[in-house]
């Protein structure tokens, strides 16, 4: 694949549609899980070179929660959902049904709940990708880390920088009543898998 992925308006539309479908699926599942109305939107979706990921996420020492999982099946890769500290804490409050701002430290329950959210979002997108590419995608168990953004992202970038060149980045927003939680969701397909996805949205190499 060439140095920069130039996507046409039509292909971007196809990606945005993928973003929207995944978000819809995830919102439905989260609403069912929590028994209250949760919305999820994707204000922005893009395909960027791996090296540009840290720039998107701000200062390397920003505290973030990252939920990471591997994808197996016909399309290999991984997914990472990240939230800045405050957003992660607010989301933990929403998930646990607490008043927003109640979380001061993440308990084991909060960590599980955030991993569950990661699994749901990943599952929703795996499903959307599966329909788009007509392939099978299977998630592995999620893992959570709460640390400096640089440390979490470098881990992902290193593990992948030998194989993964491009990342599909989604800016995600969860809305429940008055609470709005922002984060990033990364789809990190292996090169072969990226080709499959790009082909499915009609992008040429």
């Amino acid at each position: 694949m060439s140095k920069d992925v130039k996507l046409s308006e039509g292909q971007l539309d196809a990606l945005r549609e993928l973003g929207g479908i995944g978000a819809g699926n995830a919102a439905t599942a989260l609403s069912q899980l929590l028994n209250k109305r949760v919305m999820m939107t994707v204000p922005k979706i893009d395909v960027v070179p791996v090296e540009k990921v840290p720039l998107l996420m701000g200062q390397p020492e920003t505290l973030v929660v990252g939920v990471y999982l591997r994808i197996l099946g016909d399309v290999l890769g991984s997914m990472l959902l990240t939230f800045p500290r405050d957003s992660a804490f607010a989301l933990a409050d929403v998930l646990a049904g607490r008043k927003i701002g109640a979380t001061k430290i993440l308990s084991d329950m909060d960590r599980s709940a955030l991993m569950e959210t990661g699994t749901i979002v990943a599952g929703a997108y795996l499903n959307a990708l599966s329909i788009l590419t007509k392939r099978t995608l299977v998630p592995c168990t999620p893992n959570l880390a709460f640390d400096m953004m640089g440390a979490i992202v470098d881990y992902i970038l290193i593990g992948l920088s030998r194989v993964v060149e491009y990342v599909i980045v989604l800016e995600v927003e969860f809305v429940e009543a008055d609470t709005k939680v922002k984060g990033f969701f990364f789809i990190l397909p292996d090169p072969e898998s990226l080709k499959i996805i790009m082909k499915a949205i009609g992008a040429e190499e």
Binding site: Q59, P60, L63, R70, M148, D154, Y155
Partner: protein
Amino acid sequence: MKEVIKIGMADLKASVSPNVLTTLGLGSCLGIILYDPVKKVGGMAHIMLPDINSVRVRRNKAKFANSAIKEMIAKMRKLGARKSNLEGKIVGGAHMFTGVKISNPSAFNVGERNILNARQALTDEKIKVVSEDVGGDYGRSIEFDLETGKVKIRTIAWGIKEI
């Protein structure tokens, strides 16, 4: 005037006393620090991968432990450092998502391989590793004071320490 010089990911720099070299948010990445205590010349690299010979794209020498060390030595010599004076320190090489090892062992012990390769590459250059703070499952930021040769390590969970 003391200048604070930032080193990004897959980046390296050398400088002289009283400047400070710093790099932020090391996870599996490794900070490699070289110091000539006599001339007070130092270098720091923020490497991502262990070995330049194991990859196809070799454009960025600062990305790999072995090539970064060679490059740093060359830069430090230009600033007056003597190779026989050099001391090495390494920091980082963590394993951030502790559960992932099971599902993908080969790709995800990179932190550990960075540590091993950096030690080996330093030994090959006959540079002694005088101290290190490596491994674990947490991120680190480092500040290297070229006046004293001290390296300050900041973490979220474990506070600050100096090596």
